[in-house]
């Protein structure tokens, strides 16, 4: 394979890394004055990468023609679809940030650059077809994320979030590396194709099984699946809200898609070995995510538990271990990203008269009489997260459970669906507080066009109007999932 072909395949990543480096220089010499122009430039870079990836997704790129650098990097439609979501979510995190940081006087030029590098890391993650590529992408993303979590340097909670994230993230990386070394030791290769060949050769050895479990555990930490979820509420609460929105959307997409690729491309022939782990993590995440959220008073903490809950549903799709299951997982991810961006954008619009962010249930009591438009948007998002039709959240749940039923995982489907009712309880609390309680009229913040536009787009997408897009979404997800080689 020629170098130029490989470089052509990684063109979106090249654009991101080069523009990231250039912007870093601007940030270093220009200072924080340039932060808004750097934000715009980063958005443009993300948009360019988006435009470059889109055609390959639509065309359903797959096969050896998409492998770059001797099988270390795969630019197929599966990775492409994840990249589209990642770039879109990163762009949203750039759009909502200036307003939030400006008020605190904390908008720095590094913010957009860090987001850009994180997006680059995630882009590498989802395209990884070798354990080492995987690790490089994951760490690039993680290191940017640690800094982003503690971006409000003078804020204790933000610093605590960054430290917690860093310590626990380092532990997870260690676990992951240990699993990778075991896998390498027992299969004799680091590329997914080599692992697949060794794993399907015969009975799975104990060492290989251990390697697989450790890799899964390390990745479960990144997607905050139970029992590796403990860091999530603290980090989500402490991190600045735009960063929380970013954490809840883009890295989730990257880690879940990566998990899917490792499970199918590297260990696809041993699906029975990892399926029970995934089923356990799925059910535990759904239940713990739902139960943990019930007592929460802080909205960001509550959404953190909500994201744990949602990861459970994503894993239901993966547990099916079929092409339909992976496609369902991608569809759910797309809907989840829209719902997450919508809910955090709405949270960002909750400001009191002095412009301080409001973050507790007590602050939004009776919001429907004082701020009807915002309250109705939040109502749509909450019912959608609860999976009540005719909102899009229901469609996401429907496709993952459909895949589970088709894969004959009836018990998982019934338990998961029944547990989703527990989750409905706290989403209803949102609606109850906003619509049924006496208004206290604390939300005063003036209109913020960029946030409103973003919220309106999200609300329309998850409203029943969004169903008109399902045909297109499902066909894209199917071709994307079809680009992965599924073992028997």
């Amino acid at each position: 394979m020629e170098l130029s072909t490989s470089l052509g395949l990684v063109l979106p990543e090249l654009i991101l890394s080069l523009s990231g480096l250039v912007m870093l220089l601007f940030a270093a010499w220009g200072g924080d004055r340039l932060s808004s122009s750097i934000s715009v430039a980063c958005c443009v870079a993300l948009g360019a990468a988006f435009a470059l990836v889109a055609p390959s997704v639509c065309a359903g790129a797959s096969g050896p023609g998409t492998m770059a650098f001797f099988g270390q990097f795969s630019a197929d439609a599966y990775a492409g679809m994840a990249k589209l979501m990642i770039y879109a979510a990163s762009g949203a995190a750039l759009i909502v940030a200036p307003r939030y940081f400006d008020r605190l006087g904390a908008m720095r030029a590094e913010y957009p650059v860090l987001i850009l590098f994180a997006a680059l890391g995630m882009s590498i993650m989802v395209s990884a077809s070798d354990l080492l590529t995987l690790y490089i992408g994951l760490e690039l993303n993680s290191l940017s994320s640690y800094v982003l979590a503690s971006f409000l340097r003078s804020n204790e909670k933000s610093a605590e979030a960054g430290l917690k994230y860093f310590v626990l993230g380092a532990l997870a990386s260690g676990i992951l590396l240990f699993g990778m070394s075991l896998t390498y030791g027992f299969t004799g290769g680091t590329s997914f194709a080599a692992i697949q060949a060794a794993a399907s050769a015969g009975e799975m050895s104990t060492g290989m099984l251990f390697g697989l479990i450790f890799v899964l555990a390390g990745l479960a930490f990144k997607i905050s699946a139970v029992p590796f979820h403990m860091w999530t509420p603290d980090v989500y609460e402490g991190a600045p809200t735009p960063v929380t929105m970013f954490f809840a959307s883009a890295p989730k997409v990257a880690a879940v898609v990566l998990l899917g690729r490792v499970a199918v491309e590297a260990f696809g022939s041993q699906a029975d070995a990892w399926r029970q782990v995934v089923i356990f993590a799925a059910l535990a995440s759904i239940v713990v995510g739902a139960l943990g959220a019930i007592g929460q008073k802080n909205l960001k903490r509550l959404l953190a538990y909500s994201s744990i809950n949602n990861v459970g549903f994503l894993l239901v799709g993966l547990a099916a271990a079929t092409q339909a299951g992976l496609a369902a997982m991608l569809v759910y991810l797309a809907i989840y990203v829209v719902m997450t961006i919508g809910s955090f954008t709405a949270l960002l619009l909750l400001r009191d008269a002095e412009g301080n962010q409001l973050e507790t249930f007590a602050d939004i009591a009776g919001l429907s009489t004082t701020r009807p438009a915002l309250a109705w948007c939040l109502l749509l998002i909450m019912f959608s997260l609860a999976g009540i039709p005719p909102l899009m959240g229901f469609w996401g749940k429907l496709v993952v459970f459909w895949a589970a039923v088709e894969a004959n995982l009836l018990a998982l489907a019934v338990l998961g669906m029944a547990a989703s009712v527990i989750g409905a309880f706290y989403y209803l609390k949102f609606v109850k507080v906003m619509f049924f309680d006496e208004p206290i009229d604390r939300v005063k913040g003036e209109a913020d066009t960029a946030n409103w536009v973003l919220l309106a787009i999200c609300a329309v997408l998850i409203s029943p109007v969004g169903y008109l897009l399902t045909g297109w979404l499902v066909s894209v997800a199917n071709t994307a999932a079809g680009s992965l080689p599924l073992a028997g």
Partner: protein, 510 residues
């Protein structure tokens, strides 16, 4: 009708109205809601007049592949037609009932009601199983808001209970639906209705569907959400809850449980009959001791629904027809009874029975209309209730005389609690001065109650108008379930008489 998509139009009119109401002032919102529901009523009448009785089973069908995995498919048979008529008939009444009593957030209120209308008639029209589920579940959202925002003092508890109870009932049904779609390879309800699922699978599927429909009906012992929801909901909310939402459960059984799982239905016949018998007797007794008028009528609804389920699982045409008429009749009568409660609640703002008394003296017209609906609820011949109870019990008698016996006691108990209620409210001395000073019905209230009374009378005197469109569909359903129909316990023994010739031959021998 040509190619005019009348069913889509019936969904679209209230939907557009709902969106318009959301952005309107109180006065405009009321007018918009009334106009939208009246247009829908007019469309419903056009629909009924164009319905070809005895024609194709599914009429006015529309199909468009708008979504992935399922279709936008609409169509109705006679059973759905009647329930759609009930919904579009009650909706303008609901809007009228809220005309003056709702003063806060009128636009949102009217929008929620119009949305309810879209979703409820959507349930009856849906020809795709997932589309059905979407309409079926989505109706929780507006009802949750109606109870929670405009309800009584304990509205939060009631709204949560209503939402979570019914949601838990339905989620398992969704899994069953997905399995059926996978097995049969289609999401079309008409095709699934003639697909034979393996009997073993039927058992599980039936139970999953039953969990949802039994809660929605509601059947004893999962009825406990209903009294709370009814008591806390505003008057019009109660009307729509009793009038149409409870019918979703019965419609589900007649559309899914029976034709799709005949063997399992036969297998669980005694479960349903047993629960129905308990429901009829127990909830009637509970109704007898209520102090709250709305709660009393709510429990009477559970008892009436018990007769519906018994009639549905009688596996014969009388039982099915009786259950359908019972659903229509109960929709009208209990809706009207809630309106009657609303009339005096609007004046005195209490539902305590003991706060009223002797209303026949100062509100004679109200007392007359209330008496009519009381009698219709009891099942006096000439009212719709009689036709309903007679047909269903006649059907149940064929399958089990004991079940019919127990269910019939419900009529006696029903007479007891309804007449006792009426005596305490309308007759006796006027012990409360404020109640004695209440004015009689206003023109608006006449306009709400008289059409319902006329419909109930029509259904009681000439039920054929309502039975004719459903007859063929019920016959099809009966033929479908007959292969599994259990033996009744009425074992008629034909006497073995001696033929005349033999008798004479014997005589000649002598």
């Amino acid at each position: 009708m040509g190619g005019f998509p009348i069913l889509s139009a019936m969904l679209l009119v209230p939907l557009v109205g709902a969106i318009a109401c959301l952005f309107s002032e109180a006065k405009t919102a009321r007018v918009i809601a009334l106009v939208a529901t009246l247009i829908d009523l007019a469309l419903g009448i056009v629909l009924w007049m164009n319905f070809d009785v005895g024609g194709a089973q599914w009429q006015f069908t529309e199909r468009a592949a708008l979504f992935a995995g399922f279709d936008y498919a609409l169509g109705i048979d006679g059973i759905a037609l009647m329930l759609i008529m009930l919904s579009v008939f009650l909706m303008p009444v609901c809007i009228g009932a809220s005309w003056t009593s709702i003063t806060k957030r009128v636009g949102e209120y009217m929008a929620a009601f119009l949305l309810m209308e879209v979703l409820m008639i959507g349930v009856f029209m849906a020809q795709d199983i997932l589309l059905f589920y979407i309409f079926f579940e989505a109706s929780l959202i507006p009802m949750y808001l109606i109870i929670g925002i405009w309800g009584g003092d304990n509205r939060i508890y009631a709204s949560y209970k209503f939402f979570l109870y019914t949601l838990l009932g339905s989620v398992v049904m969704l899994i069953a639906m997905l399995w059926m779609v996978m097995e049969a390879g289609t999401t079309s309800i008409p095709e699934l209705m003639v697909y034979d699922f393996p009997p073993q699978a039927q058992t599980w599927l039936w139970l999953a569907f039953f969990a949802s429909f039994a809660v929605k009906m509601p059947m004893w012992p999962v009825h406990t959400w209903l009294p709370d929801a009814h008591v806390q909901a505003p008057t019009a909310g109660s009307v729509i809850l009793a009038g149409v939402m409870l019918k979703l459960g019965g419609y589900g059984m007649i559309r899914f449980s029976l034709p799709m799982f005949p063997e399992a239905s036969a297998q669980f016949m005694w479960l349903v009959l047993g629960l129905s018998m308990v429901a009829v007797v127990v909830t009637s007794l509970i109704a007898l001791v209520q102090h709250d008028m709305k709660k009393l009528i709510a429990y009477s609804s559970v008892a009436h629904m018990g007769i519906v389920t018994a009639g549905l699982f009688a596996f014969n045409t009388q039982g099915l027809e009786g259950a359908m008429v019972m659903m229509l009749s109960h929709g009208l009568v209990s809706g009207a009874l809630f309106l009657c409660v609303g009339v005096i609640y609007d004046r005195l703002h209490t539902r305590e029975i003991s706060r009223y008394g002797g209303l026949a003296i100062n509100m004679p017209a109200y007392a007359t209309i209330f008496l009519f609906f009381t009698m219709a609820s009891i099942g006096l011949p000439g009212t719709s209730g009689f036709v309903a109870e007679f047909l269903s019990l006649a059907g149940v008698y064929q399958i089990s005389s004991w079940a019919a016996f127990v269910c019939t006691t419900g009529i006696i108990l029903g007479a007891a609690y309804m007449l006792y209620l009426y005596r305490r409210v309308a007759f006796g001395a006027q012990v409360n001065e404020d109640a004695a000073a209440m004015p009689d019905l206003s023109t608006r209230e006449y306009l709400l109650l008289v059409p319902i009374a006329a419909a109930a009378l029509w259904m009681g005197v000439y039920p054929e108008s309502f039975l004719a469109p459903m007859r063929q569909d019920i016959a099809v359903l009966d033929a479908r379930v007959s292969r599994a129909a259990p033996q009744g316990d009425a074992h008629f023994k034909m006497g073995t008489g001696v033929s005349a010739e033999e008798a004479h031959a014997e005589g000649e021998a002598h």
